[in-house]
């Protein structure tokens, strides 16, 4: 990130030190409270970014978590007599619990759309406001915190509030940066681009969304507690107002929601701009100005300021990065799943027992029994609509089974979530490549190396793995491109690299050859052979018969959701029934 070089790190440390010293140096309260407002919005906007910026689930309900914090602090100090400082972590906990509860309800909805999430979170704000104003928590008259003794470190109350705000803003930034650089952040960015694929690649999407939601709400709750101390007199109208989500969303978009520092940059710019208006007693004009800039920014600069800036910086720094892949020696990287016993033999890796899938009244699979042997290449063929892709989707856990079971290595995997199936060692590719479009090719592959399988986790450096599999698929020089810059052939090979980086025991390939030119098909066939030579078992769905005959050890023919034939390629494809389903009965007769 931008903070890595030593001079800029020194400068940032110096700025932070000066900020901490300000109250002790006797800065006037007016400036302290002005800066506090900046910190407050930095913390709030940054916390919003942790869920909404990274994962793309835009919450319009940030006021709910902020308000939960405000009222937790207000109630506990005035009614229970707790010390103010103690209520800050408690407020964070209450807000996080609230987020967890809401998340459990809404994130379980499989087809939850972004707009629904936004509106639902907005509704929660109103519900919470109604509850607070109708119960003794507020009672409709507001809560006066005038009697509460506030801490006075940093020489005065405003100094203390200022320092708390500064700590919170720095804390929020640190948390946000930490999240972005961790597995959680990688997973959230993948969810942002394509949640289904993220799940199939091993990202525990539900858990990650809940975690991000809780972290985001906790920071907002803590900000609420501090704000309660700052404001002193609390009303439902001011707390649960639309201003909070409006400002937070705008600040994040202006700065760039996908970057950890983006919301903070936007928050600083807007708070300073608003301060100029409020200074001249034009609060209403300021609000209109913010609204107007929201419109302009979204129309003209949908990506925000930070990504633009970073793109500039990155152009300068691309040189050393591009040199790195060359340093990798191909021989050093071991073949896939080397831990597996070398004796491929006849042992069964995957077994489908009576796998049935009904979509409403339509039966897509009617009891398929199929064994996949360790180390083999099994081709899955059949006419369109015969259930090939459905079977792949069932094995990878995308659809729940109507009946039957799927067993991998003696373990029943039929009731597992897709990400758990992925971590058991099953990887798949998509017929139409579904890459994470906002991530570079390298990051696409790296993500799958991180989340792919549990047996290799922690031992290998995901960066090295990603470089290895990109070299393996011949994409090393495209590593830092975005997927949009690739052609279909290259996109399919990125799909390969992603699947392989997970070091699967079983690789499911869904029509990888369709749409490729004859020479590209030959290349892909060579690649598949190389993969098998590394010890990976492969099941592939294919219409290109030349490739089926060239690659497969055995062919399974599906027709109307049933297994029609199974055996060596040449003989199976010449069986009368198989010819019938492919060419029509009349032709065979």
């Amino acid at each position: 990130m931008a903070v890595n070089s030593t001079p800029s790190r020194l400068a940032i440390t110096a700025v932070i030190a000066v900020l901490f010293a300000l109250p002790y140096a006797g800065a006037p309260d007016f400036y302290l409270s002005y800066l506090y407002v900046v910190f407050f919005w930095v913390a709030l906007a940054t916390s919003w970014g942790v869920l909404s910026g990274y994962s793309g689930y835009w919450s319009f309900g940030h006021a709910a978590f902020f308000g939960a914090g405000v009222y937790t602090a207000a109630s506990l100090t005035t009614k229970a007599g707790l010390p103010f400082l103690l209520t800050i972590p408690l407020a964070a906990a209450v807000a996080a619990a609230l987020a967890g509860l809401i998340g459990l309800v809404v994130f379980r909805i499989k087809s939850l759309r972004g707009e629904f999430f936004a509106l639902l979170t907005l509704s929660v704000t109103y519900v919470l406001a109604a509850i607070v104003s109708n119960t003794p928590i507020d009672g409709g008259g507001g809560v006066n915190m005038g009697q509460v003794s506030l801490p006075t470190f940093g020489t005065s109350v405003s100094g203390a509030i200022y320092l708390l705000g500064l700590l919170l803003a720095l804390g929020a930034l640190a948390v946000s940066r930490r999240v972005l650089c961790s597995r959680l952040g990688a997973g959230l960015l993948a969810i942002h681009d394509d949640e289904d694929v993220a799940e199939v690649k091993g990202v525990p999407t539900l858990r990650y969304k809940l975690a991000a939601f809780a972290i985001s709400a906790a920071i907002a709750g803590a900000a609420g507690a501090i704000q309660a101390g700052y404001v002193g007199y609390i009303t439902v109208g001011d707390t649960f107002s639309i201003t909070v989500p409006l400002y937070v969303v705008l600040m994040s978009i202006l700065g760039g929601a996908c970057h950890w520092a983006g919301p903070a940059v936007g928050a600083t710019l807007i708070t300073v701009a608003l301060g100029l208006f409020v200074g001249g007693n034009h609060a209403e004009l300021g609000r209109a100005g913010v609204a107007f800039s929201l419109i302009v920014v979204i129309l003209i600069l949908p990506q925000g300021i930070m990504p633009r800036l970073l793109a500039r910086l990155r152009k300068v720094r691309v040189q050393p990065k591009a040199a790195r892949p060359g340093a990798l020696t191909l021989a050093a990287a071991r073949p896939a799943a080397a831990a597996m016993p070398a004796s491929a033999g006849d042992s069964v890796l995957l077994e489908c027992r009576g796998v049935t899938k009904r979509f409403g009244g339509l039966q897509a699979l009617g009891g398929v029994d199929l064994q996949v042997r360790r180390g083999e290449i099994l081709a899955l063929v059949g006419p369109n609509g015969s259930g090939k892709s459905t079977l792949i989707n069932m094995i990878s856990g995308h659809f729940p089974l109507s009946s039957g079971s799927i067993v991998l290595d003696g373990q029943n995997i039929s009731s597992l979530e897709p990400h758990e199936v992925a971590r058991k060692g099953i990887a798949r590719t998509y017929q139409i490549p579904r890459l994470f479009e906002q991530l570079s090719v390298f990051e696409n592959v790296r993500l799958c190396a991180i989340f792919g399988s549990e047996h290799g986790a922690g031992q290998d450096d995901p960066d090295a793995l990603a470089r290895h599999w990109l070299a393996f698929t011949g994409l090393a020089d495209k590593a830092h491109e975005l997927p949009a810059a690739l052609n279909l052939h290259e996109r399919k090979f990125v799909e390969f690299a992603r699947a392989l980086a997970a070091r699967p025991k079983l690789l499911l390939l869904d029509e990888v050859l369709c749409g490729l030119t004859p020479s590209e098909v030959d290349q892909a066939v060579g690649l598949i052979r190389k993969i098998r030579a590394g010890g990976t078992t492969i099941v592939f769905v294919e219409h290109v018969m030349r490739a089926v005959v060239a690659l497969a050890d055995r062919v399974a023919v599906l027709d109307q959701g049933r297994l029609l034939a199974l055996g060596a390629p040449q003989e199976t494809m010449q069986m009368a029934e198989v010819v019938d389903v492919y060419l029509g009965v009349a032709h065979a007769a």
């Binding site: 936004a118 907005l122 509704s123 109708n134 409709g140 209109a288 979204i298 003209i300």
Partner: protein, 279 residues
């Protein structure tokens, strides 16, 4: 008897909810624009009705004749901006959020933040149906909503133009390949949705107290109504409006008026958990 009276009140309130929800539902479902500024437009319409009525003594129906075409043009202009900048479904919500705040500021600037009430001689007029009093204004709002819902449904499902609109909403490029000029249709629909906001505004001016902050109070409930009724479904929006309206009034009568705002969201959350097919 009190219950029957409040149920009727809720039913008629549901008419106004439905009136507001229809425009939103159609523009969300068919144009893929989540138009938050619909509420602000309705309130702008309400304030204009108030102004024309109090300053120039213009009757509401005449005000409507002015407001509806003006809002049609306003809707066209807003849609033109969206189309020009290729605003996505999600960004449309953010942009119109901004427009809402802008209009709210404008209203506050012109009419101040104070509550306003448009007093008309017929504001309290009602007739008696057995033991129940039926307020005339609310009833006409409800009838307008019902008429609009029926017209919208007939247009969308029984005319070539309506079918073309639905096809364009489901897959724009394919519909265009079959010769549907989605662009012109979408402009027309955007204008009509905006005009319907003006109509709702006239009734809001006649039946409730006006304040800029009231805009936000409607957003939550009406969006709940839109989602409950199903997107692009005008009769559904009206039915959902009636459901929410009646539930709210009964809550007010039986439990406590202060809890009424919770009703719509409780229904919405219950529905989202149960997930019927139309959602």
């Amino acid at each position: 008897m009190l219950l029957a009276q409040s149920a009727l009140g809720g039913l008629l309130l549901g008419g106004i909810y439905g009136l507001l929800a229809m425009g939103l539902s159609l523009s969300w479902g068919l144009l893929r624009f989540v138009n938050l500024s619909h509420f602000a437009l309705a309130f702008l319409g309400a304030y204009l009705t108030y102004q024309l009525g109090t300053q120039f003594a213009m009757p509401p129906w005449a005000a409507l004749l002015l407001i509806a075409p003006a809002f049609f043009v306003l809707g066209l202009a807003l849609h033109a901006v969206f189309v020009h900048f290729k605003v996505t479904e999600f960004s449309s919500m953010l942009v119109t959020f901004g427009v809402t705040v802008l209009i709210e500021s404008l209203i506050q600037w012109v009419w101040s933040a104070d509550f306003r009430k448009f007093d008309t001689p017929y504001a309290q007029s009602s007739f008696q149906l057995g033991p129940i009093f039926v307020p005339v204004l609310e009833l006409s709002a409800f009838l307008c909503a019902a008429l609009l819902a029926a017209t919208a449904w007939l247009c969308l499902h029984r005319t070539l133009l309506g079918r073309a609109l639905r096809a364009a909403a489901q897959d724009g490029p394919i519909a265009a390949a079959f010769g549907i000029n989605a662009r012109r249709l979408s402009y027309g629909l955007a204008g009509l949705c905006s005009a319907s906001a003006g109509l709702a505004g006239v009734f809001i001016a006649l039946t409730s107290t006006l304040a800029p902050s009231q805009i936000e109070a409607w957003i939550g409930v009406v969006f709940a109504v839109v989602i409950i009724g199903g997107l692009a479904n005008a009769p559904g929006a009206l039915a959902a409006g009636m459901l929410v309206g009646i539930s709210e009034s009964l809550t007010m009568a039986l439990v406590n008026p202060a809890w009424a705002p919770l009703v719509a969201f409780s229904i919405l959350i219950a529905l989202l958990l149960w997930r019927p097919r139309w959602l």
